[in-house]
């Protein structure tokens, strides 16, 4: 029977992977999440505690998907503390997706932290199209690096390169993802740049891509109540991350006054990134 994305599915957490001391991946079986497009998100219900938007993480088993959570607020901490066998609720996947142009041959993927989640799903789609993929994974320091093994395993079947960079140089290349991107652009041409991570990092990537006239797409994150275009919490200018995004292109982003500048908090006030 066809299940609507709005139907709440209760799933059991079958496996938990500790990525770093503050990041975990929770694996579950759910056909709709398995089929999620890159950039789409799930509304994840932690019964009687919270419901939070989470990008749909890939899993190598058919019919399975995951969420990767960094412990921070009430909802994410509660999710982080779930044990194998616990249940969570899911609705979605919602939102649009990263677009892979028909004539694209070589793409650059740049992500940081849990922002890598939609990018790994994107990579899994790009591989099917046999694209040449360069992936940059950024972190503040060595202990914050995760998904390296997964990225390498995922990209193995195609012409690809995985580059790790840390701000303090404790692992991989020293520098920010934008520094690495800048170096890469000197000797390579890419058909498109895809990014997800901390907003100020994405702002840097988008500005650099726009400056070099390279198509760029970014998957944005905002606080959401509904996930379906009703509450308005996730607005950037006149666009909604849940319904018009999560993926926006370089042209849209360059016009947005809120991008890299401000977001709405739970009561709807505009707050500036410090």
């Amino acid at each position: 029977m066809h299940t609507s994305i709005d139907t709440r599915r209760i799933v059991r957490i079958e496996e938990i992977v500790s990525e770093t001391p503050t990041v975990k991946t929770l694996v579950f079986k759910d056909d709709l999440s398995y089929a999620a497009r890159p950039g789409q998100f799930l509304m994840v219900w932690i019964p009687r505690i919270e419901e939070i938007p989470m990008s749909a993480m890939i899993n190598f088993k058919e019919g399975y998907a995951a969420v990767t959570i960094r412990k921070s607020g009430v909802g994410s901490t509660a999710l982080f503390e779930r044990k194998e066998g616990d249940v969570i609720g899911l609705r979605g996947p919602y939102g649009n997706e990263f677009a892979l142009g028909k004539n694209y041959k070589k793409i650059l993927i740049i992500g940081g932290g849990t922002g890598l989640v939609p990018l790994l799903r994107l990579a899994s789609f790009a591989i099917k199209k046999r694209l040449n993929i360069t992936m940059v994974l950024g972190a503040r320091s060595k202990k914050e690096v995760f998904f390296e093994k997964m990225a390498r395993k995922l990209l193995e079947p195609v012409r690809s390169s995985v580059k790790i960079c840390t701000d303090d140089g404790s692992y991989g290349l020293k520098g920010t993802t934008v520094d690495i991107m800048s170096t890469l652009l000197r000797n390579n041409t890419f058909d498109c740049v895809y990014t997800c991570g901390p907003e100020l990092m994405m702002k840097g990537v988008v500005d650099l891509a726009n400056k070099n006239s390279i198509p760029v797409q970014a998957s944005l994150e905002r606080y959401m109540k509904c996930g379906i275009g009703i509450c308005g919490s996730c607005c950037l200018d006149s666009l909604l991350v849940c319904q018009d995004g999560t993926v926006f292109n370089g042209k849209q982003l360059s016009k947005m006054l809120d991008f890299g500048i401000s977001y709405r908090d739970k009561d709807g006030q505009r707050i500036c990134y410090s």
Partner: protein, 308 residues
């Protein structure tokens, strides 16, 4: 995106303000951002109603706050989250041409008077007083179920503004027509009917209520016949303009509400599946309807059902 309505055949008059067409954004939906209001206006909306604003900012309830129930119905207990009167007055401070009604919510006359004094110099059409939110204590319906409090609050707002005041009524313990009559007698010009209805949803797997607040308000397709009935009764008994609200998801629903007696019609939950462009689609379809029925103006159908 442009609608060619040279003869203003869709324009309607609400108290002393004219809307270019009868479609309005229902309060509680997307209502915190001037940029979003401008987008809705580009989609040919007739007017917007903001989220209900209180004196102090409110964070609302923890999630889950909105549940899609399927079949075009929704359950919510957002908890009146809003940025508060001062931040919201800054949000709207550059408004030039967007027709905006500010929805107000509060517990005392003092709060309403403070808000209207702050908002009244802004470029807005008027106010909608929320006396019917069914899931926040000491606000909304808990005020609406007390006719004496309704009388005092509406009088206070009236004393502080010459702009149109609509009072949004719901199906609570006080008869909806009685409540509307109290509001009109106290100085309201328009009645908006209806708000969501108290409702609940439980997950049978975990056996837990889904909303963090347990109880919320039902909206969408499921409540439309109740809204139609309330608009029909209110507009038949009281000679005031009524704004219909509840379960409008297509141009046909707009027409049905108008035939029942609504001068304008608010649209909300359906944005969850159709997005802001629904206003453009509905407006275009209304224009077709007017042409097909050979009407000079859509207002000709308001309250036709009263004959039967």
């Amino acid at each position: 995106m442009n609608i060619d309505d040279k003869n203003n055949s869709l324009s309607v008059e609400l108290d002393n303000v004219r809307l270019r067409n009868p479609t309005m954004l229902a309060s509680g939906i997307l209502g915190i951002s001037q940029s979003i209001f401008e987008r809705l206006y580009r989609e040919n909306i007739g007017a917007v109603v903001t989220k209900s604003i209180s004196v102090s900012p409110m964070k609302g309830y923890p999630n889950p706050t909105v549940i899609p129930l399927g079949g075009g119905s929704y359950l919510n207990a957002v908890g009146l989250s809003n940025p508060g009167v001062d931040a919201f007055s800054r949000e709207l401070s550059h408004n030039k041409n967007i027709p905006i009604f500010i929805s107000l919510v509060g517990s005392s006359e003092k709060e309403f008077s403070r808000m209207v004094k702050t908002f009244d110099s802004l470029n807005i059409l008027g106010y909608e007083i929320n006396l019917s939110c069914p899931h926040v204590s000491k606000m909304g319906m808990e005020v609406g179920d007390d006719p004496e409090a309704v009388n005092k609050i509406v009088k206070t707002v009236r004393m502080n503004t010459s702009k149109p005041i609509s009072v949004k009524v719901g199906v609570g313990s006080v008869d909806v027509i009685e409540l509307a009559r109290v509001a009109i007698d106290a100085g309201a010009n328009i009645i908006t009917a209806i708000n969501t209805l108290r409702a609940m949803s439980i997950d049978i797997e975990t056996m837990m209520p889904i909303l963090s607040n347990r109880i919320g308000g039902l909206s969408g397709n499921a409540i439309k016949p109740i809204g139609i009935r309330c608009v029909y009764e209110i507009s038949k008994k009281l000679e005031v303009p009524v704004i219909g609200c509840g379960g409008v998801s297509s141009w046909r629903d707009v027409i049905e509400y108008m035939i029942a007696g609504a001068t304008a019609v608010q649209i909300g939950s359906v944005l969850g599946s159709r997005g802001p462009r629904i206003f453009n689609q509905i407006t275009k379809a209304l224009l077709n309807y007017v042409e097909n029925k050979n009407l000079k103006n859509i207002s000709e159908i308001i309250g036709i059902a009263h004959k039967y």
